[in-house]
Symmetry: D2
Subunit: 141 residues, 4 copies
């Protein structure tokens, strides 16, 4: 489960493949144990009351699991989300960024499984948890 693409290179890669979410996410930290990724609170993702929306939290979970997977299998590979289960447990704090902590539970030849906990920045109790499965297609010859 060695990291083969570092945080800087991954940030550039994300900007290329998902230009429409530019500025939405930042990789705060990445090593073999944990990826920490930030969703910047902004008007676009807010519900009335100033809290981050469920779909925006799903986006963070999805992109973090993608980053954790691609950092290990390499940028030239492919990976697509096949499943996500997400529990929304607490209302995010108004105006706060959401910070995701991601752990790779399995990296197989065909599937990766990633777990994450999402927090409003500065809070101890998670606002959401999610698990995601990515399918890794066989490399093209």
């Amino acid at each position: 489960m060695t990291i083969v693409v570092d945080a800087g290179e991954m940030t550039e890669f994300l900007a290329q493949v998902f230009p429409q979410v530019e500025g939405m996410f930042t990789i705060d930290h990445m090593d073999e144990d944990v990826l920490v990724m930030r969703l910047h609170a902004s008007d676009q993702h807010l519900r009335p009351g100033g809290t981050v929306s469920g779909p925006a939290m799903f986006s963070l979970a999805d992109v973090g699991a993608y980053v954790a997977t691609m950092a290990r299998i390499g940028k030239e590979a492919l990976a697509v989300t096949t499943n996500c289960s997400i529990d929304f447990m607490r209302k995010p704090r108004a105006g706060a960024d959401v910070i995701g902590h991601f752990r790779m539970l399995k990296l197989g030849r065909a599937l990766s499984v990633v777990d994450c906990l999402l927090y409003s920045e500065g809070e101890d109790a998670p606002v959401a948890r999610a698990n995601l499965t990515y399918s890794i297609p066989p490399k093209r010859a």
Copy 2:
């Protein structure tokens, strides 16, 4: 499981509570058996290649389950997503709207459970399936 808020009234209500997604969704049909709701393909929700993104499909699943629930418990009530499990099964067709078919499986006092299948418009095989649970807090006195 009678519908107490019709499609027109629900559309106005959505525009009030989620102004940031205005123009993103349309209620195509709603009766006691099924809700059909449309996600308009637009640049904002597209992945490279012109297909609708996973987070945009999640948004459709989430808002459809909300509409199905609120249409039965009434607009003055509250409902928040507590859980969603979603499977992405096929790549959506480029440029096509995504159409969600929603069914209410349970409407209890405290929880509603909604199932949905998502299709690229005009296709027979679903692109995704999801189930969602909404928590319905007790009414305030």
Copy 3:
């Protein structure tokens, strides 16, 4: 999604590969649209009060998704559950068999996705819903 192993042959196959659940399940009906499979209520699967337990309902969901998959890919293939999400919605009726209705939503080369609704026999409202993903390993040479 043609059925290549019929209900009689599948019943014999189940008895071979899962001898420890013999007598627990019956295939009531199987065609290309739907598989109907029965969990016989028995003391072993009952909670106090005479209702079928959650783990017994999970077993039905799991074996039904396996049957639906193997009936299409053939008995010589392999398939292992990778994910299940299950919602328990109502208390099963005391003493009643649980009947599962299974639909194949996707049968790809590497994954199958099956949806099911579980009912207490004779009731209209489902007691549970589940979705399952099976991984289909490449055939050995």
Copy 4:
């Protein structure tokens, strides 16, 4: 999230409410951070090849989340599983007990959310992960 029912008392309680699973599970350790619970490998839960079955692992996840919840809300309360999502990631080691590590992510008035990782005893990589939601009905007067 204080523990109000200790491991010894909880073990007696489990034997009363689930007599049919007596001898199947043991509470190895319980404190405010983590519950460690063991599924004893036995013929009844084994697949051909001697590995613990998926339904048996589901049973461990379900009973552990129940124990973690009841230990905090008290034995006189009620709690029923409403949702479980489980990923099976690796084949359990033949003949080994399965050890579950459970953490309480949320304990609200109406819902608890518990996360768990399951391991074959003595192994570092988890065989499965699961998250469960329990519904806590209001106390009867």
